[in-house]
């Protein structure tokens, strides 16, 4: 793979930065006025939070993720990004859980808006995984449609500097490969980082994905990336792709569309608590509700926007009752939207295979397993008529 001379191109800028020099990346981003956010350790999990320096990053931590299970484990190599998907995603920084949309004062002519939306912060995200970057690109399409643009998301998105990170290991619940969302980092990043620790070294390959990414890289101490570095990075990603914890059933969008009446939903409903954890941790789930409030005097009012979940009974409330009364229909709504109708709405899948919904489901319901079960059911129906066993 050829590597261009960094002094010529804005894209194609590739440098190697040592572990010792890594803090310079954070420093430069802060210097440029970004609030830097990255993976930290808190409450027994990797959590995205403010990062002032490299010491608060989740260095030396890995994790074990399985259905309904998350454990931090200590690594012995000091890797900065040796863990899997953090507990929540970057969604909370682009599409905040609580946002005041406006504030108004009542008066004789009704009301006057006194405050609109807040200023959008400038944020730098360090450690955005391939799946998460894909999720951001998916949400870009959600919040900018032919009919409307969400100003809150748009403002924060414009002000976001993205440092993506390639995954050096696949998590137990990961299936980005079968969703086409990773593990190789796709377009949309400002800088893509691969942590290389082969042969006893600890370096970071940093590749610019944008002009401003290249500008930042030029301010860092580093050496040009060599052929061997690029090869090592490619190898790492390939090994990760081969070690995925799970895979998603092929042709799942059509499968779900045709399974609306399946008896399987009742089976899932036996286990699903309707807690909505999956929607909270999912990097693409975007549903919100609007809350109109007023002060006690009734003279000033505010409108807030809050995260919401299709798993609540109130979500589909009309005319005195919820449309989706049963847990079965609510689970069906979530998974069918995620894997099927999202395509009709936005032209992409809604799922990036990050596995969070599997990890953080209290009862370990697995989106890949449920889809597989529907696939088996359909194949049994199609193959069962002549008495021969269902196909594989």
């Amino acid at each position: 793979m050829p590597h261009p001379d960094p002094s010529i191109a804005d894209t194609g800028v590739r440098v190697m930065v040592s572990r010792a020099d890594f803090p310079a990346l954070i420093a430069v981003l802060r210097d440029e006025g970004h609030r830097v956010i990255g993976p930290t350790v808190r409450d027994g999990a990797v959590v995205l939070d403010d990062v002032a320096g490299v010491d608060v990053l989740a260095a030396g931590w890995g994790d074990e993720q399985e259905g309904g299970r998350y454990r931090l484990v200590r690594r012995d190599d000091g890797a900065l990004f040796g863990h899997g998907a953090p507990a929540q995603s970057w969604k909370r920084f682009l599409h905040p859980p609580r946002v005041r949309l406006w504030r108004a004062e009542g008066n004789r002519d009704g009301f006057t808006v006194t405050d609109g939306a807040e200023e959008s912060p400038r944020q730098a995200f360090i450690g955005v995984r391939a799946c998460e970057l894909m999720a951001i690109r998916i949400q870009d399409k959600v919040f900018h449609t032919p009919t409307a643009t969400d100003p809150v998301y748009a403002g924060r998105r414009r002000g976001a500097f993205i440092v993506a990170v390639a995954c050096g290991q696949a998590g137990g619940t990961c299936f980005c490969a079968s969703m086409g969302a990773g593990p190789a980092v796709g377009p949309g990043h400002d800088i893509a980082v691969t942590e290389l620790m082969d042969g006893g070294r600890h370096d970071f390959l940093m590749e610019a994905g944008s002009d401003r990414g290249a500008e930042v890289l030029r301010r860092l101490p580093g050496r040009p990336a060599a052929e061997a570095d690029l090869a090592a990075a490619a190898n790492l990603v390939r090994r990760t792709a081969e070690a995925m914890g799970r895979t998603m059933e092929a042709d799942h969008a059509a499968l779900l569309r045709e399974s609306l009446r399946s008896p399987h939903w009742e089976r899932v409903a036996q286990r699903c608590l309707g807690c909505g954890n999956c929607t909270m941790v999912c990097p693409t789930c975007f549903c919100t509700t609007v809350e109109d409030t007023t002060d006690l005097g009734g003279t000033s009012a505010e409108r807030w926007r809050l995260w919401d979940s299709c798993f609540t009974l109130e979500f589909s409330y009309i005319h005195g009752g919820p449309v989706r009364r049963q847990t079965a229909s609510r689970y069906r709504q979530w998974i069918t939207h995620k894997l099927s109708t999202w395509h009709e709405q936005f032209g992409t899948s809604g799922c990036v295979g990050c596995g969070r919904c599997i990890t953080w489901c209290p009862v370990g319901i697995d989106i890949t397993e449920e889809t597989r079960a529907l696939g088996l059911e359909r194949r049994a129906e199609q193959g069962g008529g002549d008495g021969s066993g269902g196909g594989a």
Partner: protein
């Protein structure tokens, strides 16, 4: 003679009798009689023996439920072209509601006892009549259920918006 021919022609045009052969039609015509009801008159009342059923030729008939202490409730209105009365088909052969003329009504009544006896003897005729009436009753049942659902009623308690 002319009147009976006219009757047969009229009966042949009614969907409920359209599968019948000439002999059967003639028989039904023999059980039929033109009647006229003034406003407020009852074609039959709840509890009556279902001795007749009717083909409405003109006017409106209200099928009503009697509710002690309240005004009667009209549950259906029937109009020109409709068949009124199905209780004659099955025991106990008793009318379940009142049928009241709300306008001047001209109707053709059919002697149900006579027709029922004939159906006993002639099962082919019986089958054809019963199939048609099954359709009429299915329609009535469907309508009754839809009305029972009270779809325009106020939403249940605890509405949010």
């Amino acid at each position: 003679m002319g009147q009976v021919e006219g009757l047969e022609k009229f009966l042949k045009e009614q969907p409920v009798f359209q599968d019948l052969d000439a002999d059967s039609l003639a028989f039904v015509a023999g059980c039929a009689m033109n009647r006229r009801y003034e406003v407020g008159e009852y074609l039959f009342e709840e509890g009556d023996d279902a001795a007749l059923f009717f083909l409405l030729r003109h006017g409106t008939v209200a099928v009503e439920a009697r509710v002690p202490g309240r005004q009667p409730i009209v549950i259906q209105t029937l109009h020109e072209g409709d068949v009124l009365g199905w209780s004659w088909l099955a025991p106990p052969h008793r009318c379940t509601f009142d049928a009241r003329a709300t306008t001047l009504v001209r109707a053709l009544s059919i002697d149900a006892v006579c027709l029922r006896n004939k159906c006993e003897q002639n099962h082919e005729l019986g089958y054809r009549i019963f199939v048609r009436f099954a359709g009429i009753m299915a329609d009535l049942l469907h309508s009754a259920r839809m009305q029972m659902l009270d779809v325009y009623g106020p939403p249940q308690q605890g509405a949010r918006q």
